[in-house]
Amino acid sequence: MNIAKLKRRKRLSVIFLAFIAISISGFLILTASRDSLIYFYSPTELLEIKDVNNKVIRIGGLVKEESIISIGSSKIEFIVEDGKNYLTVNYFGILPDLFREGQGVICEGKLDKNGVFLADKILAKHDENYMPPEVADALRDNGNWKGEE
């Protein structure tokens, strides 16, 4: 084997070893910093976290069917659920267009002593389904609806 070939093999193995080392360290870093990488907590995840009172956090889930109650002119109350647990949210302000029952939603705000979430900001979450309105109607009509709502 000539020297050029040996050198090439050495460089390739250095890159390979660096790849493994960085993969492992990357995995550890990402696992350790999961709490700061997730953008919102689901109501179930929120139960596992202590010390949430008076801290600005974000929660996310689906707006429960028939849970939206309007109080006064622009104050509303609704329930965010994730299938297992739920949380009551109070909000005063402008809502995004996609906000509706059954829709994914993210609320930023604080949890009060009574376990009610006081939201300052509401973001609508969009799902990964794209289709024309007629198709959506047809799916609902024949009972093949798999998406939200």
């Binding site: 960085i22 999961r34 907590y41 689901s42 995004p96 509401i122 794209y130 109607d137």
Partner: protein
Amino acid sequence: MKNIFNFLANPSRFRIFAKNVYPFSLIGMFIFIFIGLWFSLYNSPPDYQQGETVRIMYVHVPAAWMAMMVYLSMTIMSIFSLVWRHPLADILSKCSAPIGAMFTLIALVTGSIWGKPTWGTWWVWDARLTSVFILFLIYMGHIALVRAFEDEYKGARAGAILTLFGAFNLPIIKFSVDWWNTLHQPASVIKLDGPSIHIDMMVPLVLMAFGFLFFYFSFLLINVQTELNHRKLKKLFIKKLN
């Protein structure tokens, strides 16, 4: 196959190849983007939730795909550059970076414009948006680093190492929406259980993706020719000085 590869690996032969292939790539780009735009803007349905806003996706998604595709090709070039010390790999990588940066910027800006009416915000620091922003910074860093050295060879080496380090951002971008709770929705097209996007919307998306791919080829071929001409001029100039 290996013969074709060896044949093109010679920079001056690649220059002739680039010159000949460029017009075809440009024609491909125009055809796909024109037909793609026609489908995107006129001949496709609105979405059942987003309405007409969905049309932003036909630019946003292909741009985001290309941002990652260009980086992936730069990563492969960097391995060739570091292991086999290939001058053409350096040039291709150097010429790809500005195009990739532009695709990333388009994805970020169109995503922001889509986010305002859909989510209700221009920007959030969730894992997907942040990792794509980091990709943009890596591209800008690469562009600056490669050009910061007097010696092209050193610049290319530094750029290749940066590219390999930065490649760990690619799986993070792709899987961020599955690993962590993000505001950005999960993948619709490239996923295990098949696309969750209607065929009428898939057609313009795929056409635009091919248009963007040819856009990358076309601009890469121009950039490579410019770079090779520039190097040739520099050599002539140095020879004349001596």
